[in-house]
């Protein structure tokens, strides 16, 4: 691990100041890094993937870990709320069950106790090549996505290129299904955007997985009360149940009509694309239908219609189709 400076940020403003590089042209991997849970940050620093010159501790900022009611039945989740807090929140379990499930699916109790929602959204990719210090891949300023021509069993089948990472967050797809927004604070103030717009495809931004600019941090996530929230689920498939990132996962939120048809639906895939991947065509194919077996098959087909697998990951197509069918079925049974 390289040596770095460590600073405790007393306020969001101080954090932003500490995180803003003096030279705006600083390489993205050499920017000061924000420390929340630190589970991903420390592994990337230890492995010399992101040789941060400075680490800014956000946990010293009072109140950034609160999970609060937004006054309209929705949630305001501070960026430093731990995954455990989300998983164990009675309100979330009751009113946003999919979010509690997504939180529970993450890593291990030790990591969930300290990992945060903000950190989970800002994780770096888990691609084998990205995680190797000795390999300078496209995401690290190199010229090649080695996964695309190498060992790509876990990589993207949708919207890949030029990099084929998959985004590792479990909360993000669920938050997108729940129509959540998040607030970013930086040198130029704050802005709130849909979680979906937080993530950037490699063809837009190959070095970053999101739209954060130098000096910016996520400060809050807002989950609105919607008719979809109560019927939400996160179905994650892990190769190794004990501890793994998603081989594939589906976040689904539905609103049912009185006649047993689907009134509204939001469906998001994880583990298959460089960003959480919403499938609007599949949603359209589901809305207005009774969720019978034939409909589910059709919806699952459509959800994966854009899949273009690499050499070793075609299995993700039937796997994800299965998860899609099961996720919807579990909400409508």
């Amino acid at each position: 691990m390289n040596a770095f400076e460590f600073a405790n940020a007393p306020t969001v403003e101080a954090a932003v100041k500490l995180l803003t590089p003096s030279d705006p042209k600083t390489d993205p991997d050499e920017l000061p890094r924000a420390l929340a849970g630190g589970q991903d940050l420390l592994t990337t620093i230890k492995a010399y993937i992101t040789p941060a010159p400075r680490v800014v501790n956000l946990k010293t900022i009072q109140g950034l870990d609160k999970i609060a009611d937004d006054g309209r039945g929705g949630l305001k989740i501070g960026a430093l709320a731990t995954i455990t807090a989300i998983e164990e929140s009675e309100t979330i379990r009751k009113n946003f069950p999919g979010l509690a499930q997504a939180a529970h699916s993450i890593a291990t109790p030790q990591i969930r106790n300290i990992g945060t929602i903000g950190g989970n959204l800002c994780q770096r990719p888990r691609c084998w090549y990205f995680r190797l210090e000795t390999v300078k891949c496209l995401k690290k300023g190199g010229t090649e996505c080695y996964a695309s021509i190498g060992q790509n069993k876990y990589n993207a089948i949708i919207a890949g290129g030029p990099s084929y990472i998959v985004h590792p967050s479990d909360l993000a797809p669920m938050l997108i299904a729940l129509n959540a927004t998040l607030t970013i604070t930086g040198p130029e103030g704050s802005r709130t955007i849909p979680v979906q717009e937080f993530f950037a495809l490699p063809k837009v931004s190959v070095r970053h997985e999101n739209v954060l600019k130098p000096g910016e941090i996520v400060t809050e996530v807002q989950v609105p009360a919607t008719a979809l929230a109560a019927k939400s689920t996160y179905l994650k498939f892990k190769e190794r149940e004990s501890l793994d990132f998603a081989m594939s996962a589906v976040a689904a939120a539905l609103e049912m009509a009185a006649d047993g048809t689907v009134k509204d639906a939001r469906l998001v895939l994880a583990g298959v694309a460089p960003i959480p991947w919403r499938v609007p065509d599949a949603e359209k194919a589901l809305i207005g239908k009774k969720p019978d077996a034939a409909t589910l098959l059709n919806v699952a087909q459509i959800a994966l219609q854009d899949a273009d697998p690499l050499e070793h990951n075609a299995y993700k197509v039937p796997l994800t189709q299965t998860l899609m069918r099961r996720a919807i079925a579990s909400l409508t049974a």
Binding site: R131, T134, G150, F237, L319
Partner: protein, 743 residues
């Protein structure tokens, strides 16, 4: 015939080199009566359920391992390793490394010009803190000239592939010549023609890692002067002093080699290794203690591995269930090393067999011994083949096996295992009874291991005038329970309680121990301890008998008392008759007390989700013989551990290489997947008490052998398609099912 001295005899014992059985050797032992173990069912401590002697310290974090050792003025060392699979070192620039604050030494390895695997150490760095050492190691700038490499067997077997090792290649890619052969291939191919069923198939298993939780590590406590203490995480405490003496230039007798506890070895830790060499060299250079601990990444890349194997069969059986002909080409995949995969048809008997083994070298670290070297690989392939044949015969796999095993022990074990698992195979593979996507299946397999005791072990029992009892030997406890049985044997012999005896092991200054390889430790050490305890008892009887007015041969040791002639003395009181220096008695390994040849059978039941490819092992049973069991609790732990490691091999583990870059892509616990809590099925460890041998036989390795084959067979029985390559991961299952649908 060699001439033996009077009172001596020559016997054959297993020869083990670095954990790998390497034939037999002759040794000379005393031709005298040895103490006997006594009836198996009459023991007070051994062959019962004993808590681990080191348990209280391990459970409270106070047991000291090499990683935990910290001595005054200790420097921390790190390796600089090669990022390339094959390269020449053009230059090494130490300047930046030497500028890191706290750095004490930066030493490129002398005379090293070429590296042949990623992770090969090329320089060592020492600093005052671990952080500084790591940073400095990272700052050593090496200019490389990359050379052609091969890192997959597939690439290595292509004609014209670059040679991974000197003398390899030769127009045959990565093949190394001189493969060993056995049998007449034409005869086997002829015999196949008269078989009722035949199977042609290739089975592949990949390179695996030991994943000892404690990585290779050494602390050399030497500050100049004429003596040193070397702490080492090794399976061979015995050799620490000799190995370190070479590096330090001291007499071995002035070096204490210490292995108080170690965090796993599984075959990967013999001698002090390159880690110890450099800890010693840096310590000598600095006249300062040095600690060198491999990082997890370095452990994956350069601390040894278990070889992969590609095994291609043509085999046939007759409809009465007789295995008749087996033709097998075995490719061992040991990186740049050499390795042996156990010969086919593994434990089965066939009238006509041909076996040819070749090594396919790649630019990866050398394979070393790994729990039952070469056996799980051979077993997985042969057991898969047996089920494929049984299926074609329409015969139950257990019955088919029983017809072809050469030893009745396996018949007994197959029956016991089948009973324990509730043997009931899926009659309609690929389908479940209720139409759900979850299908179940069962499979089994058998294994064998030589093991056996070797001469050379000497144990010492010390009895103090105050009644304290210690038993000493240089051997180490890998977690296998050595401490526990050493203590129990002595306590039982002397009529004492288990906690009355203190075992002192893992120190090379004690009387001769044995390196833990080939499951030979217990069979080598327990007899020596028994002999020492027996001698101590005899000596105590001689001393105490006069005070009881009894004949020494009629003195009894029981209930912490020494009794005779109608009188009894409490142990402590009896010991007060000893001279102030107490009593120190030795014992040696005696052949009659240990045996060899362990048999086992594994059974597995799995549930597979046909739509996701997820495999859940529902239940496993393993039946294992081991002669006289020293500690039934420890033995059951070992059997469970064997099943779990075979589960890892079957479903999760494997080194993954990138053939474009020549690098291992998963050198971390996140990506090299060990089974965790949620992967653990119901496990039924069964000690085969039908084994009547009253001899100590090691069982650590055999418990690891047949499980992966049993699971592979269970998966095939569940889904109706056979996966012939380990690990059996969801992608392989989904691909195989998709292929089947398309056919």
């Amino acid at each position: 015939m060699p001439t033996t001295q009077p009172g001596k005899k020559t016997i054959l014992v297993p020869k083990i080199v670095n954990g790998v059985p390497s034939g037999e050797e002759e040794i000379v032992v005393d031709d005298t009566d040895a103490p006997a173990w006594g009836p198996k069912d009459k023991h007070r401590l051994i062959n019962t359920y004993l808590p681990r002697a080191d348990g209280p310290h391990k459970a409270t974090g106070t047991a000291v391992y090499t990683h935990d050792v910290k001595v005054p003025n200790m420097a921390y060392a790190c390796f600089v390793t090669s990022p390339h699979a094959h390269a020449r070192i053009k230059s090494v620039n130490k300047a930046a490394a030497e500028e890191v604050p706290g750095v004490l030494a930066v030493v490129p390895f002398p005379n090293l010009e070429e590296v042949r695997f990623e992770g090969q150490p090329v320089a060592a760095v020492a600093a005052k803190t671990l952080e500084a050492a790591e940073e400095a190691a990272h700052a050593v700038a090496i200019e490389w000239e990359q050379l052609p490499f091969v890192v997959t067997a597939e690439d290595a077997m292509k004609p014209g592939a670059p040679a991974a090792v000197n003398g390899g290649g030769g127009g045959r890619g990565g093949f190394r010549g001189g493969g060993n052969r056995g049998g007449n291939p034409e005869q086997v191919l002829d015999a196949l023609k008269s078989c009722d069923v035949t199977v042609e198939a290739t089975y592949t298993s990949v390179i695996m890692h030991h994943c000892c939780l404690e990585t290779h590590s050494v602390v050399c406590d030497y500050s100049g002067g004429d003596s040193a203490t070397v702490y080492c995480s090794t399976q061979g405490c015995n050799s620490i002093a000799t190995d370190a003496a070479r590096e330090l230039g001291l007499p071995a007798s002035k070096i204490a080699g210490i292995v108080y506890n170690m965090g796993g070895g599984f075959g990967s830790k013999f001698g002090i290794g390159i880690v110890g060499q450099w800890a010693c060299r840096l310590s000598k250079k600095l006249s300062q203690p040095v600690k060198l601990v491999l990082t997890r990444r370095e452990e994956f890349l350069g601390a040894g591995n278990g070889p992969g194997a590609i095994q291609t069969f043509k085999a046939g059986a007759t409809k009465d269930g007789k295995l008749v002909a087996v033709h097998c080409i075995q490719h061992a995949l040991p990186g740049i090393g050499r390795s042996n995969i156990a010969a086919q048809p593994y434990q089965y008997h066939a009238e006509h067999t041909y076996r040819e083994q070749t090594t396919v070298n790649t630019n990866e670290d050398s394979s070393v011994a790994m729990r039952a070297p070469g056996h799980p690989q051979a077993c997985f392939a042969m057991e898969s083949l047996m089920d494929e044949l049984a299926e074609k015969l329409g015969m139950d796999p257990v019955e088919f096996r029983k017809k072809n095993v050469p030893d009745p022990a396996w018949v007994r074990q197959l029956d016991a295992g089948a009973k324990a698992i509730g043997w009931n195979r899926n009659k309609t593979p690929g389908k479940s009874a209720n139409g759900s996507s979850l299908v179940r299946g069962m499979g089994c397999g058998i294994g064998a291991w030589g093991g056996g005791g070797r001469g050379g072990c000497v144990a010492t029992v010390n009895i103090g005038q105050d009644g304290s009892v210690t038993v000493q030997n240089a051997s180490q406890d890998l977690g296998t329970g050595t401490r526990t049985y050493v203590r129990a044997i002595v306590a039982e012999e002397l009529g004492l309680d288990y906690n009355d005896v203190l075992e002192e092991i893992g120190d090379s200054r004690f009387t001769n121990g044995v390196a833990s390889g080939g499951s030979t430790t217990a069979a080598s050490l327990a007899p020596a301890v028994k002999d020492a305890a027996y001698n101590a008892r005899t000596e105590m009887a001689n001393r105490v008998a006069p005070h009881l007015g009894a004949d020494p041969s009629a003195v009894l040791f029981a209930d912490r008392q020494i009794a005779g002639n109608g009188k009894a003395l409490p142990w402590k009181q009896a010991c007060a008759f000893l001279p102030s220096g107490g009593l120190s008695v030795r014992g040696e390994w005696k052949p009659g007390l240990s045996g060899n040849g362990a048999h086992g059978a594994s059974f597995a039941e799995v549930e597979v989700d046909m739509e996701t490819g997820h495999v859940r092992v529902v239940k496993m049973a393993h039946v294992q013989d081991g002669g006289l069991i020293l500690n039934r609790m420890g033995a059951e732990s070992q059997i469970n551990g064997g099943m779990i490691q075979s589960l890892g091999m079957a479903l999760y583990e494997g080194r993954v290489m990138d053939s474009n870059l020549g690098v291992m892509v998963n050198p971390a616990f996140n990506d090299y997947k060990l089974p965790g809590c949620l992967e653990i099925p119901e496990l039924i460890p069964i000690i085969d008490d039908g084994d009547e041998r009253n001899q100590v036989i090691g069982l650590a390795e055999p418990a690891n052998i047949p499980g992966s084959g049993a699971i592979a067979n269970a998966v095939a029985n569940a889904i109706g398609v056979r996966i012939r390559e380990l690990p059996i991961t969801p992608d392989k299952i989904l691909n195989a099912l998709a292929q089947q649908k398309n056919v």
